[in-house]
Every structure is written in structure tokens, then in C-alpha cells.
């Protein structure tokens, strides 16, 4: 690209939420530019996966589904937010069908909506984004936001291939940068380093639900394939063949406990007859690791491990002010896993269906709100004298520190005051001692900002986890195993060097009514 560009709405990210935001903003006829760290079509956690999508054809069905979901949220989600998400996603999926995305027909010959083959879906969305007139810059990671007169009005970054710096001035910015997996090797997550959280926090935004960053997925041997669906039909055993008894817990909890006592193996021996063929053609990437390793997982056992899914299948992110995508910072909007999904899914994972619906809904809201902001406030911030926010850069060893503190089961999956305090001290040291003072350029600048974003995300997660002196959903405190009604509310956190915690006094449901 030219070194400096001007646009109306700048979208940062390349997954589903970014694509919906770009299309919705561009519908109003304004100039929209999308920059992504990777490639719009393959970027993000969704693209390689295959996703169930939260869907019900009728309003009554959606209301019932939202109520069921919220009942499982440990008191932190609310029905109006969940229902608005479902309604908006419903519109988006109908739109996708009308555009010609090839949804299959089920055995009764009816169009089957609630599953997206995400490689196909994101390739299709790229075409729609282009058709909407959006300018796309792949491999152009944003590193820092630009602010003029207190309004976020662009970003600066680096082009990965040329290693040249770029700057784009805009009248509004949407962060759709995804979540953070703390350096874990789960498919689709190499770019998910929490960049948007850091950029937003530097601009003064607040995060919430960060303590709910302890979702882990089961993977076969040392693959990155964290697709949980097929484990519905798995049995788990120890090295000597002793079955691991299902005590009605979540599978991840079962495996986490078992792994403390040695290697754990699984076998898909309960797959119903006839379903093997459907799994092979419907979810080929589930069986791919086995095919390539020469294992028949329906008959032979194989080792399993847990991989951290951070805030991707976790919950935390930038706190939004209502269902508009607004972050509370003028000119800055957020969508997808960059935003907190606490109001939608509470203390449990929104992995798969709800997050997929959320990407569509929150993307559409953020794109529309950013366009409305441009219409209301005007474009003069595009050219006002501005300053680049941020500047925190950590040297790459910080990434190893984050992995050591955030990936182990006995630190993040299971937590205690002692381990959280130790980890926060180590992460705090990394934050101060690994600050990079050398001016960095090109890909080195990207790496140092990723290290800073991951470290900041880790500190927000464990700081919130230390404050939540109870267990709730995926937040498992071994030193406070019970769920305490006094904590049935959200924890908000802000700040970079010094962090500020604010606990909502009122339970989430009452707060909404006010």
C-alpha cells in the first residue's frame, strides 16, 4: 500500500466478525478498509475448523434457546443480550443463504443452516467483502491505534512481506482481532495474541470476563486439532488399559484430573453405526490427524492431551457498552472474540455455536455503529494532528514466560491464590524487565507487540482470577471450590502498567433492567 492512506472505517482483523463488520459498514456507501495480520479467508480460529452455528428458525425457538443458554451461564449472561445475538445472527445466516452460500439439504430435503464449513464460508465471505467495495490489505498487521482529540482515528502497522511501516487514518476503527491463546498450538490460533485487547486498553477501554480464560480442548497426540465433537463417542483409559470413569463432569475436567496421574488415552468406540462415513465426509479434519499418523481411532487407542484455548473458547475481551459494538472510547468499536462474550455465555465456553453466532451479530453491530459514528461525528478526525498510542514492546523471551504461566493445567485450568500470585509476579517482571527500548522495525516490531499483548492479556486474566475468590464455570479455584452468590457479577479490568478492577455490585440480570 501507499505509506499513508485515508479511509472512513478501518476494520482490523480477518475472521468472520471482521468480514461482517466490513460488509455492514460498506453498505452505507462510505469507504471501508480492512487490514489483517494474515489473510482474510484463512485467518482466525474459525477458518480451519467447521462450526456449529447457534440457530433456531422461529422467534419462539430462539427465545427458548436463549433461555436455556442463559440458565447455564452461572448467572452472568442475560436473555435479552443472548436473544438479540440470536436474532441478528439469524438475519446474517438468511443473508448468507440469499447470497448463494451452498448450505446443504438435510435428509428431508430441507436447507440445513446451523453448520458452517468454515473454510468454504470464509472463502465465500472474502468474495462478499470484495464485492462490497472494501479495500483489503492482507498480511498488514496493525500494531498501534492513532488518536486525535480523544477520538480513535486510525492505526499504524507493518506490511509483513515488504516490512514497510504503514499508517491509515480513519474516522472510526473496528477491532475484530480475535482472542488470545497465550502461544498455544491450536489450529487457527497462531495470530491470536490478544493484539486488540492491548490496543483497546491503551486507548482507555475496559475488559471484562478475563478470568474466564481457562477453557481447554482435547487434542489427539500432539496435533493442533481441538475439535471436541467426536469425543462425545470416546472412552478414556490409562496406559495399562484401566477405564477412566465418567463421573458426569465435563470431558475436559475428566481428562485434566486424569492427566495428573499419567498419560491418558482415548478411543472412539461408541460412534453409532453408519456415522463413521458421515464423520469422514462431514468433518474430514477431525480424522485427518489419524489418517496421517496411520491410526484407526475407532479401533485403536491413541494418547490425548489438553490444549489451552484462552479467550477464544473462553469468554473475556473488550467490554462493550450495550449491543452496539461501542467500547466507550470515541471512534473505537469491537466485535467477535476481541469483545467480551460474558453477557452471551457467562462463565462457560461459547465455543462453536454461540461464538459463531456472536461473530456475525457483533460484527454487524460494530460495522453499522462505526458507519453511524462517521455520519454523526464527521470525518475531520481523519486529518487532525494525531498521536500514536501504545508503544509497549517486549522482547521475544516474554512469549516463553507467558506460555510457562498460562498453558500448564496446574496453573490455568486449576487455579489457587498461591499459583496466581506467583504467576502474576513472574508476568509483572516480564512486563518491566523485558521492555524493548530499541526502536524496532518490520516483523521484529510485530513480534514485540505480540509479546506485549500476550503478556498484558495474561496479567488481566490472572488479576481478575485472583479477585474472583470462588469457582464459577471454567474458573476453577482449588482453594475456593464453591460458587459464591456474592460473586454473581462481572469483573471489569482496565489499565496497562497498573491495573484497575471494578466489580459490578448488582447481579448482571438486575443491572440490565436498570
Amino acid at each position: 500500500m501507499a505509506a499513508d492512506l485515508v479511509t472512513d472505517v478501518l476494520i482490523i482483523g480477518g475472521g468472520p466478525a471482521a468480514s461482517w463488520a466490513a460488509i455492514e459498514a460498506a453498505k452505507t456507501g462510505i469507504r471501508v478498509t480492512l487490514v489483517d495480520k494474515g489473510y482474510l479467508g484463512t485467518s482466525g480460529a474459525a477458518a480451519p475448523s467447521g462450526l456449529g452455528t447457534w440457530w433456531a428458525p422461529t422467534r419462539e425457538g430462539r427465545r427458548a434457546s436463549a433461555e436455556r443458554r442463559v440458565a447455564r451461564s452461572f448467572g452472568l449472561a442475560n436473555v435479552p443480550s443472548a436473544l438479540r445475538t440470536l436474532d441478528e445472527a439469524h438475519n446474517g445466516l438468511e443473508q448468507l443463504s440469499a447470497w448463494g452460500y451452498p448450505f446443504p439439504n438435510d435428509d428431508r430435503g430441507e436447507r440445513y443452516i446451523p453448520n458452517l464449513r468454515t473454510a468454504d464460508y470464509m472463502q465465500f465471505m472474502r468474495g462478499r467483502v470484495r464485492a462490497a467495495g472494501v479495500r483489503i490489505y492482507d498480511h498488514h498487521p496493525a500494531l498501534e491505534l492513532i488518536v486525535a482529540d480523544g477520538v480513535v482515528s486510525g492505526a499504524s502497522g507493518v506490511a509483513r512481506h515488504s516490512e514497510e511501516a504503514w499508517q491509515i487514518r480513519a474516522a472510526a476503527v473496528v477491532l475484530a482481532t480475535g482472542g488470545c491463546v497465550f502461544g498455544e498450538r491450536v489450529q487457527g490460533a497462531s495470530g491470536l495474541t490478544g493484539d486488540g485487547y492491548l490496543m483497546a486498553a491503551e486507548a482507555g477501554a475496559t475488559l471484562s470476563g478475563m478470568e474466564f480464560s481457562a477453557q481447554y480442548g482435547i487434542v489427539s497426540f500432539t496435533s493442533a486439532s481441538n475439535k471436541g465433537l467426536i469425543y462425545t463417542w470416546a472412552t478414556f483409559m490409562r496406559e495399562d488399559g484401566t477405564p477412566i470413569e465418567d463421573r458426569g463432569e465435563d470431558r475436559q475436567v475428566l481428562v485434566a484430573h486424569a492427566l495428573a496421574g499419567g498419560p491418558v488415552y482415548a478411543r472412539f468406540d461408541n460412534v453409532p453405526p453408519g456415522l463413521q462415513d458421515d464423520l469422514r465426509s462431514g468433518q474430514p479434519n477431525i480424522l485427518l490427524p489419524f489418517d496421517r499418523a496411520g491410526i484407526n481411532p475407532f479401533e485403536e487407542r491413541f494418547p490425548v492431551m489438553l490444549r489451552c484455548e484462552g479467550t477464544v473458547r473462553g469468554v473475556g475481551g473488550i467490554r462493550l457498552a450495550g449491543d452496539t459494538g461501542a467500547t466507550g472510547v470515541p471512534g473505537l468499536f469491537a466485535a467477535g472474540d476481541a469483545a467480551s462474550r460474558e453477557r452471551l455465555t457467562g462463565a462457560i465456553s461459547g465455543g462453536g455455536g454461540p461464538n459463531s453466532a456472536w461473530a456475525i451479530a457483533s460484527g454487524a453491530w460494530a460495522g453499522r455503529s462505526a458507519a453511524a459514528f462517521v455520519a454523526r461525528v464527521g470525518r475531520h478526525h481523519q486529518t487532525r494532528t494525531a498521536r500514536v498510542l501504545g508503544g509497549v514492546r517486549l522482547r521475544p523471551p516474554a512469549i516463553d514466560v507467558v506460555k510457562d504461566e498460562m498453558l500448564p493445567i496446574n496453573r490455568n485450568f486449576f487455579r489457587t491464590e498461591r499459583t496466581l500470585t506467583q504467576s502474576l509476579a513472574t508476568l509483572g517482571d516480564a512486563w518491566t524487565t523485558l521492555r524493548s527500548t530499541a526502536p524496532l522495525k518490520g516483523v521484529a516490531a510485530l513480534r514485540s507487540r505480540e509479546a506485549a499483548a500476550m503478556t498484558a492479556t495474561a496479567r488481566w486474566s490472572y488479576t481478575a482470577a485472583l479477585h474472583r475468590v470462588e469457582s464459577r464455570g471454567m474458573h476453577r479455584r482449588l482453594d475456593a471450590p464453591a460458587t459464591d452468590p456474592a460473586f454473581a457479577s462481572s469483573i471489569a479490568i482496565s489499565g496497562i502498567d497498573t491495573m484497575h478492577i471494578v466489580r459490578d455490585r448488582a447481579p448482571a440480570a438486575e443491572q440490565l433492567a436498570s
Partner: protein, 110 residues
């Protein structure tokens, strides 16, 4: 992670350089791209789908590179096996309209 760019199969279109979200490939003038940043590979297999001539091989091991011989991959018929299972052809999408995942989800709920 990504293990092989087959020079015998590659036509030098550089689509893999363009679509890899983790930017692991570098283009080579008049040649097959090289795997320049293997450790950045996120083992998503998407480069295999987008390759129009099935010249790429991604192993499922995500932690470390393992020794994989091109002749063995060829003999086992694994070049392009993911694309064929999906129904993608010559780097273009296909097969979503035949996706039987609705049966899997029905079985999960039963």
C-alpha cells in the same frame, strides 16, 4: 506442521504464500516457494486446500517438525487427501452442499 512443498508438483503460482495466515512461505523466483518460518505454522491444513496442484503436505504433529519423505507421501496417496475429502478441487471450494454434518449433530442429540 507444514513439511513439504513438492518441487515436482509445484507450478510456482505462490497462492500458498498469499493465503497462509501465519506467513510461513517465502516466494522463490522461477521456483517453488520455500518453507521459511516452519515454526510459525499453525497446522490448519488450509494451504493444502488452496493449492491448485496438491503440492503441499502438512503433518498433523503440531509441536515439532518430523522427518517426512516426499516419496512416502506420494506412495501413500496423501498429497491432496484433505482437499479430496472436503470436495475442494484445484484450489477452489466444493462439497459444502453435500456436507452430512446434520446427521452427526442429530446423533449427538439423540
Amino acid at each position: 506442521m507444514i513439511e513439504i512443498v513438492s518441487a515436482a508438483r509445484c507450478i510456482g503460482c505462490n497462492i500458498c504464500v498469499k493465503v497462509c495466515p501465519a506467513d510461513v512461505f517465502d516466494p522463490v523466483t522461477d521456483g517453488a516457494p520455500v518453507i521459511a518460518r516452519q515454526d510459525d505454522c499453525q497446522t490448519c491444513f488450509l494451504c493444502e486446500l488452496y493449492c491448485p496442484v496438491d503440492a503441499l503436505f502438512v503433518d498433523a504433529q503440531a509441536e515439532h517438525s518430523i522427518a517426512v519423505r516426499e516419496g512416502d507421501v506420494e506412495a501413500a496417496g496423501l498429497f491432496g487427501s484433505y482437499a479430496r475429502a472436503m470436495g475442494w478441487n484445484r484450489g477452489k471450494p466444493g462439497g459444502a452442499e453435500r456436507d452430512p454434518t446434520f446427521r452427526i449433530r442429530a446423533a449427538m442429540q439423540s
